[in-house]
Symmetry: C2
Subunit: 319 residues, 2 copies
Amino acid sequence: VVADFPEPDPCEGEALVHVRVVGICDTDLQLARGYMGFRGVPGHEFVGVVADDGSDLAGRRVVADINAGCGACDDCRERDGHHCRSRTVLGIAGRPGALAERVAVPRTCLVEVPSGVPDDIAVFAEPLAAGLHVLDELPGGPSEPLVVLGDGKLGLVTTLALRAAGLDVHVVGHHPEKLALAARTGARTSLARDHDGPHEAAFVVDATGSPTGLTVALSRVRARGTIVLKTTVAGTHDVDLSGVVVDELRIVGSRCGDVARAMAELATGRIDPTPLVAARHPLREACAALEHAARRGVLKVLVDVAPQCAATGESALSE
Amino acid sequence: VVADFPEPDPCEGEALVHVRVVGICDTDLQLARGYMGFRGVPGHEFVGVVADDGSDLAGRRVVADINAGCGACDDCRERDGHHCRSRTVLGIAGRPGALAERVAVPRTCLVEVPSGVPDDIAVFAEPLAAGLHVLDELPGGPSEPLVVLGDGKLGLVTTLALRAAGLDVHVVGHHPEKLALAARTGARTSLARDHDGPHEAAFVVDATGSPTGLTVALSRVRARGTIVLKTTVAGTHDVDLSGVVVDELRIVGSRCGDVARAMAELATGRIDPTPLVAARHPLREACAALEHAARRGVLKVLVDVAPQCAATGESALSE
């Protein structure tokens, strides 16, 4: 349902942001199906322009870290607040999202977009941050090939991130045309049905988005290996974890990353996520955009909110 | 079934060991129920005396690392061979165990028992090694309390190991009398029904031996925390792993440890596992010993094979 919500009313510490482009993520689709009980405006991958509020960032293009912590707890003070127990998460938990003309965002979450980075690239900063975050779970930077399971949005963005870091990546998926996108990054690729490397990989990233992803990862990882779980699947699932103990495996969950780091990577021009864009819809067709994104095999669907910056009318902002 | 097996015939590189005492482990009970398809002589926790074979260890009391690798692969050359793909595991996989009068053991697996360590303490070297191995998964040595789930053999031996390392341990179990044993090590203890510390522990060790142990651990660990899995449970089980990603948890499997390190710890006299001994049976009652060990709530059952060293008759060996 597309609905008229009240104009966002930024609280102390928040900025009003005029949204330009929004990316649809599988989490948005899960939320639409009831995940986390979220109601309201979804959308957490976006590029926008800060309203003319007299602040340092007034009129600047921005993306955002979607996690907004309390600022006072240990996690907020010592780390990034991504696990603050009082956190809100833009368009996911406790805070309206960006699939709208305007959104209120905590100023501490905002990351400026360098002028050389187009909207369609900058809108990938949040998912790319999540992909780069996998590197934080690979101490020492593995010298061995890393297997990425999944050639969907999650798998491909993770592949972009890992390849940008110079890692030897082997992507295993079900779709030749998506594996071709992975191959363009220099990754090796295999169709899942051809990939019979049982218990050979030191590092496996489950980016399948499927409840069976972990079981496949368990069949691929070798003893004392690491599985990085990117797939969030709600509910209980049957899984045989005896190998985790016998083979002394390490399973590490990995969620959001550092959006500023991702933006810095995008600014180098080394990463081009735009081949992942499958379609774009205007905001008034937001429902169609979500339905389109939910179709099997569709990669990134973008929603144009104010691509020409009509919202602010500031010519300095058009690239 | 107690059966007459042929006299062990040590291969090149193996020693014939006259068994003195054997400890019954839950793995032995699982093997008896068909786990891993093992057939033959079980028993992997033992103390024995090396036969008078002219070797350096002839006539010496020994325990053993139960994993015997090929000696040639990467895991054997660079690590401890515990994950050698061609390994045999004493009394568990591909190699007859020690619940017998004599057993053949690869010499590289043997660890001498210092003269000051009685048999009934030395027989705990193998399970204690597994307990100490938990420390390898706690980089930097945690300054925070560590929750051990389970007050059975596995939980208590792990508690002995972690307390010997000076860690702040909180044992959660179901049996006041077993928790009392944990308390004697200086650990804090709670009955599971009274332990309502949801998502507060930075480190949780699942030593429950139960398929539900992981689910309990997931309810106790805090964001970015670590769960060390000691419980080996065959088969698939329903588990909700969504928290692993959302809370960026780390689940690490932990199996066998360094038996020489455990023996060194036992030699210091700081660790006394003997309160865990619930019963002892002679070898001819091995079946009764297994049945006894399988009774609910029974801790360590020992099997006396040649406690007075009658097997060798060498007076120098009697302590």
